[in-house]
Symmetry: C2
């Protein structure tokens, strides 16, 4: 086991997952009494709030991801292990990795987040990719760009219309961001690039099951978001339940009536499902899961009966003052910092007050100069909300890796309407030109 290489006197903290929760936990430890191992399947921390910018060609994957080892290079007490956890043995207090190796822990923090859920329709996945990983983002980017390419050489008007129609399922922050970015791409970025089509005629449909977009926000913010999206030409279908997705489009029901949208590109921004490690934890410790598969934790993020195991971030289910923790980056960061404090306090026989989520506010960006923001009871939208979004993201990104470059990239793209990372890449990209699907 890896820890044999180090002294056995320190308290061994093992963190699974290098997302916002896991990474903030690791960075928050400031004690010489602990050794920390962070295990992730990927070698990088992904700045997920900007993933839609990769999917829409504004940024490259390398610009929103930082190698975990690099972020933690100066913290000699922290080890990074690239590996996939396949089992947990709470009695022996150890993890089993896919390569058969084991890692022993004294305290364990599981923060493996969530993935997208197609509810009971796994067959939709191939037609409507979701947006959780770097590979998802480059796949969606390729589909969007190929749609315009195929429209350019389409043989019939009908085919051309289908290639120029984009359906986004899910009207939460991701769906709203993708719809806004697609509008910007078709109206501005690609305006001069094609000869046979008018990219600005692209139809962008945003389909949401609940009665309004951004349903976690205040109704006034939802209305502002809808107004801003409509001004960009986005077609909004709220209260609409998707009934079918195939290679040629999407069908949905609205007040009993069935609508069909012929769209060659469908993007999934709807359901969220907890990481499978939640189910594994339930099997091994008897802990309960909520409907989305998240682990129902104690007020201090620990498991009942296994207080040495904590769960943080999107995988943890709980509430503050009766309000469930939202599945957003600030929750994960606060969870991570709390978990680190709790573990150190326990070592020093200090008690720790229950975790309390501090809602700093909510932001959703819609496109160039457009966003909605809520801070306490204060609500605003438009360019000031967009500037707030920009500043907050610049602030967090700089904290991570001195990524001033991203600021230049944004400034450059803002003034030129450009999106430089418009590459069709991937395993099949060298022959993707072949079959007209």
């Amino acid at each position: 086991m890896l820890q044999h290489l180090r002294g056995m006197n320190t308290h061994r903290v093992v963190i699974v997952g290098g997302g916002f929760a896991g990474l903030y936990a690791a960075k928050s430890f400031r004690s010489k009494d602990v050794s920390i191992t962070i295990v992730d399947r990927r070698n990088f921390h992904l700045f997920q709030p900007l993933l839609y910018q990769v999917a829409t060609g504004a940024l490259s994957p390398g610009e929103i991801a930082s190698p975990l080892r690099y972020v933690l290079r100066n913290r000699k007490e922290i080890s990074v292990v690239l590996g996939e956890v396949t089992d947990i043995d709470p009695a022996a207090r150890k993890l089993v990795l896919a390569d058969g190796s084991q890692i022993a822990y004294d305290s364990l923090l599981i923060a493996t987040g969530a993935t997208h859920s197609y509810f009971a329709h796994p067959e939709w996945a191939q037609h409507a990719p979701g947006l959780k990983t770097v590979e998802d983002a480059t796949e969606i980017r390729a589909r969007i760009l190929l749609a315009f390419e195929r429209a350019e050489t389409a043989a019939t008007d009908e085919e051309r219309r289908a290639h120029l129609t984009f359906a986004i399922v899910g009207g939460g922050p991701t769906g709203v961001e993708v719809a806004g970015a697609l509008a910007e791409i078709s109206r501005d970025t690609l305006k001069h690039d094609f000869r046979n089509i008018d990219t600005a005629s692209a139809r962008i449909c945003l389909i949401e099951g609940s009665p309004r977009l951004l349903h976690a926000f205040d109704p006034a913010s939802s209305a502002a978001a809808e107004r801003q999206l409509r001004s960009l030409g986005v077609e909004i279908h709220t209260g609409s339940t998707v009934t079918a997705i195939d290679a040629d489009g999407v069908s949905f029901q609205h007040e009993g009536a069935e609508t069909r949208v012929n769209a060659k590109t469908v993007i999934w921004a709807a359901g969220v499902q907890a990481s499978p490690l939640g189910k594994l934890l339930a099997e091994r410790t008897g802990v309960s899961l909520d409907r989305a598969g998240r682990v129902i934790v104690e007020p201090d993020l620990s498991l009942p009966g296994h207080r040495e195991i904590l769960v943080a971030g999107d995988l943890a289910s709980g509430s503050t003052n009766g309000k469930p923790w939202p599945g957003v980056a600030p929750t994960a960061m606060q969870h991570g910092a709390y978990a680190a404090k709790l573990i150190v306090n326990r070592l020093r026989d200090r008690t720790t007050a229950p975790f309390r989520y501090w809602n700093k506010g909510s932001l959703a960006t819609i496109g160039r100069n457009k966003a909605v923001a809520e801070v306490g009871s204060f609500r605003f939208s438009g360019i000031f909300a967009w500037l707030a979004w920009l500043l907050i993201h610049i602030f967090y990104i700089i904290e991570f890796e001195n990524r001033m470059l991203i600021v230049f990239q944004w400034a450059y793209d803002y003034f030129t309407f450009n999106r430089g990372a418009r590459l069709i890449t991937g395993p099949d990209a060298q022959h993707q030109a072949k079959p007209h699907s």
Copy 2:
């Protein structure tokens, strides 16, 4: 056919391939008498001289690639078609694409370049990826980074050594660049990132069949390159013929003696083979190919018997003053500009002098502050050659897309020894942590 959308009075030029030759040809036309269609399998022009920087984590693919449509957006007489040419009909003067569509031409320029060749050993490809496409580069990047990850968790010293050994086959400019970058990664970039291994102990072997590295350069430059690589700790094996490559390493013969290097990472930077369109042209027009499959063209780049078909760039074989044209970007750019001039001159019944390659000089970079340069009979190496390399590449990249950002990225990385794009991505990357190969 696409051209039906335009008038039939203009001379239809079709260019196959959006590399340096094809793109420079398209950009060089300044005549209203021609309409231009550029066909490529990929939607972007790739700045191939910097591809090794993607393979070694310094740049992201989006930073060295520009969408062809974007580069040509303001040239309304140029159409871009994403497609793969599968047949040529010289009698009917038309191309057939993989999707079955056809494109008619009056003048045709084929500039589809070259790919790597494993000589008579296609089975080596899986163990020793080459470096020609964006996907090749991200695959090599993943292999290099995974090698360090696996060394970190290796069970035995022998296994650790094998993961920390890198073999590069081919001592031309690409092999030299990759070897230098690998030395920099292991000695500087990753120095503080791991806890169980000393990355600086990585063994880097550069294997070349001919008696010296950079054999297209002057012997003095080869000696300088070898000296600079040795100062970085690179092991050089010249006059060494590779006899076997498998999952565990590479074997080669030197003066009759067989040597085995146990290396989990082998990178192929050796043989070059012309694009398969060369063979297709030979079958359809009877033109001769050289040993590497390149098309032997007339002094004006045209085909004997089919003067309306021109070949440019790495796919064209010819010589100036008895010296064969080297397979480098400047040759391709000069070919492209010449082809455009020739076609316009023909339309105006003007004659054009045969193509003459103008050797502006040769450059190969070796790493931080290290390079060799030859301009005419003048040779220099070290930091001045490296600065020359840097300036020339910055100049060309800026010409393409105002990519000032790459300059900031380089400056930032130079002073921090960082390489920000160190991502393990790809179709299997989410589970690549699993099998210890």
